[in-house]
Structure formats: C-alpha cells, structure tokens
C-alpha cells in the first residue's frame, strides 16, 4: 500500500442543531477563525518576548516593513492553507456528493445515520 494522505472529513455527516444548518456551519467557521486569531496572538506574544529579550525591535519598525518576494510567496501558500482550513466544513458535503459509490467500509452504519442526520 503506497502512502496516502490522512482523511480529514468525517464519514456520515455531522449533526446540525439550528433550524437552518447554515447557522451551524457559519458558527464552525467563526470558531476556526477565532482559533486562528488566538494562534496569532500566541505567536505575537512569543515574538515580542524574544524581541524584548534581545532588544531588537524599534518603534514603528513593523509598520515600515516590506516582505521580500520569496517571503511573500511563502505567505501566499500559507494563506491558502489557512483559507482551506476555514472552509473545511463545506468540503464534507462535497466529499459526500463525490462519493457516488461508497466502498463498504466508507458507508455509515444505519443506526448512526439515523442518530446524526436528525436536524431537529
């Protein structure tokens, strides 16, 4: 068996709680976003701490800073990954739709389907 990437979507769909499942999906995105905001804050705090230790940052230096082209490219790739992660909740529906003939191991068991597909 050759090496394959790990699957990131959940088989059998996910439960929704609001009358319109779109609300659940949007909330999921908001939380993922919140997670990334927090991640940035942790990183910035680490950065500041390092700079304070080294005494290396001058006032206004970040505002005047421009990225080099290679850094810009790297940033762009990371941005794509970030946006993919933000909208991953929508990918499940697509995965489901594309799985026209699910392999036996990929098909959800009946009891689960009933339990998780309930919308209200």
């Amino acid at each position: 068996m050759s090496r394959q990437p790990m699957r990131r979507t959940i088989r059998g769909g996910r439960p929704y709680f609001f009358d319109d499942p779109a609300i659940d999906k949007v909330l999921n995105m908001v939380v993922v976003l919140a997670s990334e905001v927090w991640t940035l804050r942790e990183r910035l705090m680490a950065m500041e701490a390092i700079q304070v230790t080294r005494g290396g940052l001058k006032a206004g230096e970040i505002d005047r800073f421009e990225f080099k082209p290679e850094d810009e490219a790297n940033l762009s790739a990371q941005r794509k990954e970030y946006i993919d992660s933000l909208f991953r909740v929508l990918a499940e529906q697509v995965d489901e739709a594309r799985r026209s003939k699910p392999a036996p191991s990929a098909a959800p068991v009946k009891t689960k389907k009933k339990a998780t597909r309930k919308k209200k």
């Binding site: 068996m1 050759s2 090496r3 394959q4 990437p5 790990m6 699957r7 990131r8 979507t9 959940i10 088989r11 059998g12 996910r14 439960p15 929704y16 709680f17 609001f18 609300i23 659940d24 909330l27 999921n28 939380v31 993922v32 919140a34 997670s35 990334e36 927090w38 991640t39 804050r41 942790e42 990183r43 680490a46 992660s85 991953r88 036996p104 191991s105 990929a106 098909a107 959800p108 068991v109 009891t111 689960k112 339990a115 998780t116 309930k118 209200k120």
Partner: protein, 404 residues
Amino acid sequence: MLELKHDLRLAKTRDEKARMNFVSGLRAHVLNDMASGMRSVYDADVEPQFRREHKRAPKDGPEVHKAIKANDYFKFYSTLRVTAQDMVWQSVIPPLERNRPELKQKAAKLSGQAQGNGKGKGEARGTLRLQPNFEVPRYVSAIDVHLMAGNYDGEYEKDDLAAGSLYDNGLAVFSFGLMGQNLDDIGQSIAGFIRLKYPNLKPKKILDLGCTIGHNTGSWKDHFPEAEVHGIDVAAPCLRYAHARAQAQDREVHFQQMNAEKLDFPDASFDVVFSSMFLHEVPKKSIAKIMDEAYRVLKPGGLMLHMELPPNSQLSAYDAFYLDWDSAYNNEPFYKPFRDLRPEELCKKAGFDPKKYVQFVIPSVGWYGEKVWREAATRPPEVDSDKTGRLTDGILWYCFGAWK
C-alpha cells in the same frame, strides 16, 4: 494543552501548539462553563415549561432531550461541542501528517528493540502480534467514532500507525488535563484502587480488552509488576502504536490483534479481565459475547472489571440526557443502548453469581489527589453523582464487574 511525555510525541510548531491550546480551552469552556449554563437554563426555563404542559417532571433522558432541543442554549452548546470535537482531531492531523515518516521510524526502532530477549539494559520488552487477514468488525470499520476521521483502524500506508498517534495526541487535546499527564488516569485510578481495596489479590495474568493505544493497560503493570499484562484490540494501527508507546514508557505489555467477542486464550487463564471506555463502543449483541468470553477466560476467583459511563438506571433524567448527548451527536451509536442496559444483569447473563457483583465510583487520582482517592477504597460505593462519568471538574470513574 497537555504535552505528551513519551518519545512518540509529535514535534509541533508554535502555531500548531497554539491551535491545540485553543481547542483544549474551547472544550473546557463548553464542558464546564456551558454545561453548567445549560443546566441552569434547563432548571429555569425548560423543566418548568415541561411541568406546566405535563403536570410532572420529565421521567428520563429522552424526555429531557425532547424538551430541551428547541432551546437556543442547547443548540449553541451542541454545535460548539461538535465543532470543538472536530477541531480536536483537525489540530493534530497537520503536524501528524508532516511527522509520519519520522514517527514510523521511531516506532520501528522502539518495537525492534522489543523483539530482543528483553534481558539487556535499554532493550525493551513485551510483544506485538498482528493477524494479517484479520477481519475488523463492521461496528469499527464503518464509522468515524467520536468524529475521529479515519477511526481507530484507518490505514494510509503499509504498517501504518498514524491512527494510534492521532488518538494519543488527540486525547491530549481532548482531555484538557482531566485524563492524567500520561492519559492514564483511568488506569492509574482503577488499578491502584483495586490493589488497595483487595490486598490479597495477587494477579499473575491481566487482560485489557479493547485497549486501543494501551494508555490504560500499562497502569496494571505499574500496580501489579509481578503480573503478565496483555492488551487486545481489533485495530492494527493502534496496536503497533501501543507497542512502541509501551516501549517508550518502559513498560512490558503484550499486545495482540484479537476480537474480544472471540478471544484466542484458553479457558481460565486470567486473574483480571479489564476494559475501559470499551463496551459503549460495541453493539448489544457483541457486549453479551464479550461478557461470555470474559467469564470463560477468567480463572475461578478472578475479577472482571469494566470502566464505563454510568448506566441510565442510576442517573437522574437530566444526567442521563447529558451523557446520552454523545450517542445522538458524537458518532457514538452504541453509547446510549449500552447505558440503557443494567450492568448487574449483563454479569448475571454471562454466568457470574449476582452475589459476586461489584461496582465502584472511583475518584480520579489526578484530580482529587492521593488522599481522597485512598479514602475512597474504604468507603461503600456511590454512583448517583452528577460528576460520575463526565469529563468535567471533579471527575469520578464508574466501573462494574464481578468475581468468578
């Protein structure tokens, strides 16, 4: 977020750690703050409304569920809990994906050591036995239990152990510290409790059913170092990982791929048959077979003990609803059906003498500390507490079983 202590832990970037920290924090918020908020909303609005309509209180979990479903707070609690659950695994997959080749090498090195004679210093012990044509039961192969993409048995390359790492690292995020520094609080609390409570029990052989990555199996070796400790599971990637993990923790445990419904061990060969968080993952029919097998492989005088979620019959209507949430929304289809069973009946049907039935509520040694935990070994058991079986501050572990 809890940092794993053994050598198989994943190398993570600052951002990956921060994401895990966030998910742990989110889960703690949902399971502590929002769970208690939901209880308040229930007491203040949902329950009184039900009483006005029915002239009585809800009688069981499903009635509470039905009554609370339309409430906005329940909806936010639930959708945030699903989101957090999903994010647990999603926070682990990127660093795991990057580390897979190195993880495999590390594990192979650890497991390779284990194939030695076990006598030399630095040479690990224990064994790993997998079955090449093993048939994983459908209740495992067809579902992503607790929303874990790929489940316990998913394999993405030859001799894969990524699923084991996903579970281990995911549990570290999921548990927000409530399952112990080595994710073995259940094993440590229970194995130690049994040793304190039954000083005359000197097991020679101990079996852990459905052991996954063996995180609670090793505790039995810690508390009963003279015993030969075995762990079985159906998922090969978890067992490969479990074996390497046990070496990393310098524990001698024997892991085998086996279905607990049909054990490949002789009659009367174990002194203790244990499981934790296992029975609620299998359908009722299988539970009966597993109990029969536990009885068969136990020696006369041996102890069967299952750590589980508490049965609905021993909980208030609200607490039953609260624990049943997983069954309805967390890809745990067998969770409620299991908790609707009566544990004493299960033991009796498997051939155990009802007079030899036991059940305990054991304080988490990590949460309560050694003093409270030791005292509990001398107290009569109590089950009906809203801390029992919940991953929340002040957690208590429930277990039941019988002496053969």
